[in-house]
């Protein structure tokens, strides 16, 4: 049974059903109004119920069917490295500036693909930092801090 639970359809259905349930709970705080004057809660609640029902249906039919599609192969290392790079960029940009943010982003994201070469990565980061600063800050004049505040 454990295998059935790990099917793409079952998991997708559960994800949608959970989203729907969460939306219904949160939307309870907003006035729903009536058909004549729909309040801010009407549409979210309707959508929440639709998601809950449909998600439940998807999960159940995938769980019960004899030939559900299996979850595809996955290797989350590249994804996690990319996300770490973006997180570093978001966290460092305002306190440390664009140049540091780009270096950190490239160094972390580059871990996603082997072989990791330190020298090459540093050159790439320096090149991208120069390019980013040149195009967006000097060329286009976007108000992005180069060195932090």
């Amino acid at each position: 049974m454990g295998v059935r639970l790990l099917r793409a359809g079952t998991l997708a259905g559960l994800l949608f059903a959970m989203l729907g349930a969460g939306v219904i709970v949160l939307a309870g705080a907003y006035p729903a109004g009536d058909m004549r004057r729909m309040g801010p809660g009407w549409m979210p609640e309707a959508l929440g119920w639709a998601l809950l029902t449909l998600g439940g249906g998807i999960a159940l039919s995938a769980f019960l069917s004899g030939t559900g599609e299996a979850l595809p192969e996955r290797d989350t290392r590249p994804l996690l490295c990319l996300l770490a790079g973006v997180a570093a960029f978001a966290a460092l940009l305002e306190p440390a500036g664009l140049l540091v943010a780009i270096f950190a982003c490239v160094a972390l994201a580059r871990l996603a693909e082997r072989p990791y070469r330190v020298g090459e990565t540093l050159v790439l980061a320096a090149f991208l930092a120069a390019l980013g600063a040149g195009i967006f800050v000097h060329g286009l004049g976007l108000p992005i801090p180069l060195f932090g505040r």
Binding site: M38, A50, L82, V86, L124, F136
Partner: protein, 498 residues
């Protein structure tokens, strides 16, 4: 001539040296990013959006249009040379385009693709010029009920056109509608789903969502495959032979017609057009076995169709203010940044912008032929750069693009979240395109639903009593029934697996 005057006005606006330069620059940059594998037009436009901020509105839109066509064409280049579709609408181009490249006719395939695109673009620009004003007049008949039903129809069409499970596509659309509601409710001022985060009170940004789902998740999937890219076939001569041209021309003409019609459909645009045109050519051919082995018609027809479709998908956006696909939603976002609210009023109030944009479509297509064929060598060189150097560059420019939009580090963090979500969706067999369309249409749909219900004093019959609204809803139901019918279902599955 009723048509000639406004078109002349448009060319007058678009042909100024500065605007020509922006269009050229847009087409170049669009191609540059578009040839990178895994980056389609949506991510390309989103990434380059901040570049257009400092321009006057007309120039900004012209440049964006250039970027769009460039990205579109860049995708075909990758498809032909290394058998990797840069974006979904050039998937079919891979089949025969790369087969031609393996036979040493890569240059001819690129030239046929460019010329077919250009011919299709010229025709489709005329279609847009003729159909948009007619559509604007038609739009005068639209009230809240009609707009709501039109959007229902649009969402259903997007669901039908999505790959894979229909039920999951419906759920993705619903999830998109929910995401679209995040932020301040316009009618009551209530903060919905903001969790007290001030940055969310204006709603979730379209760019972080699109970048997360389409760029970051896509790069992660590419890296996971550890693919070894071909070094790229030698380009050879760019000149197609006479026989190749003779085969390509009628195929391009048919593809143009198919693309022009299908492009207007919501959710359709370039992707559906290229698939339909390819299937049609294969059915029509005297010897269908040649397809997939380098049939010139198999390159010309889908390339013409996807360009025509990309063009005519501007019609609902320009005339109704309703984006039929994600690219058009970005264009609407770009217009909003410049203070233009898209809709039927743009044509009458801002004729220079409206016709300038239409004229720039044709110019953008011309630029592609002029610049891209001579520059093919440059794009080939770019494709030889190892992916391990390219993807950090893509990622950095995504981050700068998102940050540059609102100077908000929060939006960069949001992109990260949607990137993770996008990866989960890919693994669970849920296509992100319907979610994006739901997200875009969500607020507009709620607004029109509430207005319609207020007008009818709470009677939902308003949607079936008004003929245009009823017609649209019936079309939506017919589409849904059709896609669930066993015969069509099989054909749809076959078409997508091909």
């Amino acid at each position: 001539m009723e048509l000639l005057d406004p078109l002349m006005l448009g060319f007058g606006v678009a042909m100024t040296p500065a605007n020509l330069l922006w269009c050229l620059l847009g087409a170049l940059l669009g191609t540059l990013i578009g040839v990178l594998p895994g980056i389609g037009p949506v991510a390309t436009i989103a990434m380059l959006l901040p570049i257009t901020f400092s321009l006057p509105p007309v120039s900004a839109l012209i440049m964006l249009a250039g970027i769009y066509y460039g990205a579109q064409y860049g995708g075909s280049t990758t498809a032909i040379l290394v058998n990797m579709p840069g974006e979904s609408s050039s998937v079919v181009t891979c089949l025969d385009g790369h087969a031609m490249a393996r036979r040493g006719r890569a240059g001819a395939a690129l030239a046929v693709a460019a010329l077919a695109s250009f011919a299709a673009g010229t025709f489709a620009t005329l279609v847009v010029a003729v159909a948009s004003p007619a559509m604007v007049r038609f739009a005068q008949l639209f009230g809240a009920a009609e707009y709501f039903s039109l959007m229902v129809f649009g969402l259903v069409a997007a669901i039908v056109l999505a790959h894979g499970s229909v039920a999951r596509a419906v759920a993705m659309t619903l999830a998109g509608l929910v995401l679209g509601l995040v932020g301040t409710d316009v009618n009551s001022g209530t903060q919905r789903f903001t969790f007290g985060i001030q940055e969310l009170s204006d709603g979730i940004g379209f760019v972080p969502l699109a970048m997360g789902l389409f760029a970051i998740a896509e790069i992660a999937v590419q890296l996971e495959r550890h693919f070894v890219r071909g070094t790229g076939a030698p380009v050879g001569t760019l000149w197609p032979t006479r026989e190749e041209l003779r085969e390509a021309a009628p195929a391009a003409a048919r593809g143009t017609l198919i693309g022009s019609v299908l492009g207007v459909l919501p959710g359709g645009g370039a992707l559906l057009s290229s698939f339909a045109a390819y299937t049609f050519e294969k059915k029509l051919a005297r010897d269908p076995r040649r397809f997939g082995k380098g049939a010139v018609a198999g390159v010309a027809a889908p390339e013409a169709a996807n360009n025509a479709g990309a063009q005519t998908s501007f019609i609902p956006m320009l005339a109704l203010g309703i984006p039929p696909n994600a690219v058009m939603a970005l264009m609407i976002g770009a217009m909003a940044i410049h203070g233009i609210v898209p809709g039927p009023q743009v044509m009458t109030r801002e004729p220079a912008l409206f016709w300038g944009l239409i004229a720039s479509m044709w110019i953008g297509n011309l630029m592609l032929v002029i610049i891209n064929l001579p520059l093919v060598g440059l794009w080939v060189a770019l494709l030889r750069v190892p992916y391990r150097l390219l993807y950090p560059a893509i990622l950095v420019f995504c981050c700068i693009g998102v940050y540059g939009l609102n100077n908000s580090a929060f939006e960069v963090a949001l992109t990260l979240g949607f990137g993770a979500l996008g990866y989960v969706f890919v693994k669970l067999g849920c296509e992100p395109a319907p979610l994006l369309l739901g997200f875009i249409l969500g607020p507009m749909m709620e607004e029109n639903l509430r207005r319609a219900m207020r007008l009818s004093r709470g009677d939902p019959m308003i949607f079936v009593e008004r003929p245009i609204s009823l017609g649209l809803l019936l079309l939506a139901v017919a589409l849904l029934v059709a896609v669930l019918a066993p015969a069509v279902r099989k054909a749809r599955e076959a078409a997508f697996t091909e």
